[in-house]
């Protein structure tokens, strides 16, 4: 248990080292992995697993997944990224994801937060409000 806690703290430090100006970059992640390979940690598999979990969480926090049934303009994506960067106080990049079940509109997911402006979501909320 004590070892797991240490591994967790070590993985979180590795994630912090993977950021460049608060943003996880591929180059910094490669450097961290190279350094980790050289350090010959006693339990590299557990460290890598924890690092992967925290890295995915950090990437998810820095990524706004914009689901939409069709193509979305680049300007709209930039506006969304700028908005959530200002909201969360950290750099957030927007990526699109095609989802035909939304019918129309967009649904944005940042980490565990979901912002729904789709027709399907509105219909669902409408159905949930009917008692």
């Amino acid at each position: 248990m004590k070892r797991d806690k240490k591994i967790t703290q070590f993985a979180k430090k590795l994630v912090e080292l993977s950021k460049d100006n608060g943003v996880v970059t591929e180059a910094r992640v490669g450097e961290v992995l190279a350094g980790l390979k050289k350090s010959a940690h006693r339990n590299p598999l557990a460290v890598l697993k924890s690092f992967l979990v925290f890295l995915r969480r950090e990437v998810a926090l820095q990524t706004a997944v914009v689901s939409t049934p069709g193509a979305l303009s680049e300007a709209a994506l930039k506006a969304i990224a700028a908005n959530y960067t200002a909201v969360y106080g950290r750099p957030v990049t927007a990526v699109t994801k095609i989802d035909a079940s939304l019918i129309a509109g967009v649904r944005v997911r940042v980490g565990d937060d979901v912002y729904d402006a789709s027709v399907a979501g509105r219909l669902k909320r409408l159905a949930e409000n009917v008692h």
Partner: protein, 218 residues
């Protein structure tokens, strides 16, 4: 017992009295002979008659004295060995009978007292029983009233709960119906919108929604 003894004694002494009376009668005759000269002859004749009778019956002074001594001895022996023990036995039995009678009387008194106490206790017991019975009736009546009230309240509670359960069931049913209707409406609307909205309309709506989300936090 004493009367019997005196009767027996008199019966035994009577011959001696008669004899003594006869003897005294002779002495009086001699005294009258001295005072009354004119009846001397007749008295002499009577004395001769008495002597003749005594001689005829064989009564002589030695025999009479012997018989008296014998009688006294027999009477003494009878008194000493028969009458006295019998009298003592009779007195003892009489005393026992008297004691028995007294004991019976005491027992009778005690029995009457016991009977009176029993009657009093029975009367008191009857009074107590009546009292207890009355209390029991009163308590049973109170208990019946309480149980009746409890049963009524329980019945009311059951009815109220049943009404509430029915109302809840009705509300749940209505809610289910509404949700089902809403689900059907939403599903139908989704299918209709998916089918009828053109790509341009969808794109326009998506751009509008993106702008809405982009300006939501500001």
């Amino acid at each position: 017992m004493k009367a019997l003894f005196y009767s027996f004694f008199l019966a035994c002494v009577l011959p001696f009295g008669l004899f003594a009376a006869a003897d005294s009668h002779g002495e009086i005759t001699h005294t009258i002979e001295a005072d009354l000269e004119h009846v001397e002859e007749s008295l002499t004749e009577e004395a001769g008659k008495l002597q003749a009778i005594a001689g005829k019956f064989g009564v002589t002074w030695p025999t009479l004295i012997a018989q008296m001594v014998n009688f006294c001895l027999v009477a003494f022996a009878l008194y000493k060995f028969a009458v006295k023990p019998i009298a003592a036995t009779l007195d003892d039995r009489q005393q026992k009978i008297a004691d028995g009678l007294q004991y019976a009387e005491e027992m009778k008194t005690q029995l009457a007292e016991a009977e009176r106490e029993r009657a009093e206790k029975a009367k008191q017991a009857a009074i107590d029983a009546q009292k207890i019975l009355a209390e029991a009736r009163e308590q049973s009546k109170e208990m019946i009233d309480v149980k009746t009230q409890e049963a009524a309240s329980q019945a009311e509670a059951i009815i109220r709960k049943a009404s509430e359960a029915t109302e809840l069931e009705r509300q749940k049913m209505l809610s289910d119906v509404r949700q089902e209707v809403a689900r059907l409406v939403v599903a139908t609307s989704s299918k209709v919108l998916s089918r009828d909205l053109s790509d341009a309309e969808k794109s326009t709506f998506s751009e509008s929604a993106a702008k809405e989300l982009a300006s939501a936090g500001n």
